[in-house]
Amino acid sequence: MTSELLLSIFNADFLFVLIRITAPILYAALGAVIAEKAGVVNIGLEGIMMISALFGVLFAYWTQFWLVGVLGAMLVGIFLALVIGFFAFEMKTNIILAGIAINMLGAGGTIFLLNMFTGMKGNTGALVTRELLIPVLNIPLIKSIPFVGQVLSGHSLLTYLVFLLVWIIWVVLYKTPLGLNIRAVGENPDAATSIGVSVQKIQYIAIAISGALAGLGGAFMSMYYSQGWNSGMVAGRGFIALAAAAMGRGEPLGTMLSSLLFGLAQALRTKVSGVQGVSSYLVSAIPYLVTILGLVGYAISIKNKLKKRQPAVKGV
């Protein structure tokens, strides 16, 4: 059984699936990174993904053009993030509660909205046709390299985009004035204020970007990954993304690696549940268990680091 498993894991198909499964987690995780850098907790990623996934399908269906769906999902994501921001910053609602509210809208509100717009229940069924899915890109030269081509070519446009975004977000955070402001606001809002940076404006921008990313992740889910919207679709990916960002130390590259780890756990689940004698339920628990263990491992590493850095301070 073990060798059978190993064989099914170390092949091109599996690596292809790994990339595909990681992408939506990575979208939301990058959203968490941007928000966290500005000192904002966006626990609403899960709900934003659900709602924008629905609107991605709806916009694509109404206009019969996939790109409008993707952009629409992104705009919906931005709007929802700004709603969280408005209630958190202006109305002083605890931002975690505001995020949970959006998650509730994501869980039940979407079913309501779907019913309201289309009369359908639970999933978008026949709305999604092949032409409305996010197109797949076969990369010319790489495609024909034996193993590498199978792994890297043939993904959706949004899959490539998210890995590109890892780099873009790193550049934005570390090479642009906006990134500097975001980091300043997150690390020391008072200092940022003292040099004339509007903390609130920067936090609005950060949470809006975070919403845009989660929105793209939602579009990826409904318009490529599961080829249609259904009510249990996001299944905690928004929460896992928070864990991935925490484990990736809030850095784009580290977050990509931890997202790949969670992607691996999920990909293993689909592989292993096909094997005889393995409980699909226990395997389903793996990604979440890995998340907890990952957080623990990360927390321990941070703690050790702090200990090394400050050997003089005792009892803190």
């Binding site: 907790v41 626990i43 709603v83 209630f87 202006e90 109305m91 002083k92 609602t93 605890n94 975690i96 509660l97 505001a98 949970i100 509210a101 959006i102 509730m104 809208l105 869980a107 039940g108 509100g109 979407t110 079913i111 309501f112 019913n115 309201m116 229940k121 905690g236 929460f239 896992i240 928070l242 864990a243 925490a246 409980s279 339920y281 226990l282 389903s284 628990a285 979440y288 268990l289 998340t291 907890i292 957080l295 623990v296 990360y298 927390a299 321990i300 941070i302 703690k303």
Partner: protein
Amino acid sequence: MSSDKRLFLFNFLRGAAAILLALLVATVFIFLSSKQPLTSLKYLLLGPVISFKSTGAVFNTTSFLTLLAAMIPTIFSGLAVCVMFSANQFNLAGEGVIMLGAFVGGLLGIYLKLNTGLHQVVCVLVAAIVGGLIMLIPALLKVKLGASEMVTSLMLNYVIMFVILHFLNFTFADRSKGATQSFPFQATAKIPEIVANGTKLTWGLVIALVFVVIIALFMYRTKWGYAIRMIGINQAFAQYSGIQVGAIIVLSQVVGGILAGMGGSIEMLGRYNTFIWRELPGYGWLGITIAILAKNNPIFVPVAALFIAYLDKGCQLMAINSDVPFEMIDIIQASIFLFFAAEQFLAKYRQRIVVRIAQRDLALQEAAAGQEGSKS
């Protein structure tokens, strides 16, 4: 004294305004989506306690009793959230721990052989202890390692659910039944109805109300409760005043776990005959809404739980009798979340009241000072 009263009245009115606003949002959505908006609204707002017959509207006692029955698990989860949120611990594992408590209590109800009376007590107590222990995971990870209790508790929900489903399917399933379920609970373990009328209103409600009082006393009359609230208000201050912040943070989450585990087992042994939950029950999230409505004050939890039960029933009836889906409740709940928890909601009026009170107090003081001045 009167200034306190005015602020209290203001807070009460503000809460009412937030709820009205949430219902207004619901009404707008109903009018947008429904072909018979008035029928929908009628069932949503009045359906839970009034039955509409051809002869006219009658107060529906049975339905009202089912509302009370629905409060049993949510009072417990509401209390659990109150305690944890009071210490600023955003532990969201209530959901999973309720399921775990129900599972543990249920198993003991099936396999343990005890006399009635003792049997229920053992089931509920063990479920409570297991609930408290499992909450040690997010609590200790937070205190010892600084891992966010919010993220670990969210993950814990899924882990608990899948592990329970595994054991339910592979170890404890009653294979003679078509659906996946456990063997039936023994009669000695069942929590009986107060009046045997099929409303599922069990003695669990009485236990829940007793715990409302216990937790209220715990939060407002013990040093631990004080410490929990102090950490929630200002953790640094609590630390400087000598409170053992780490231990109290763990305590708050363990108490939350005990309450959730207890609530799960009481609900399971009261309402059901076999363990049949195949997904998270949702009571944990309702508990958060309830704690927000109760402003983390245990005494208000039953009122909030009744309101939520009413809303839930109203949405169910609306979904049955009209074309608006049940999920409307999530839109209402989300609106309540946003407005009710908004400190700045109607803050201008609050400010005005505070200013007026301060001015009056100042005037009184000046008058008093003036009198003393004229005396001397």
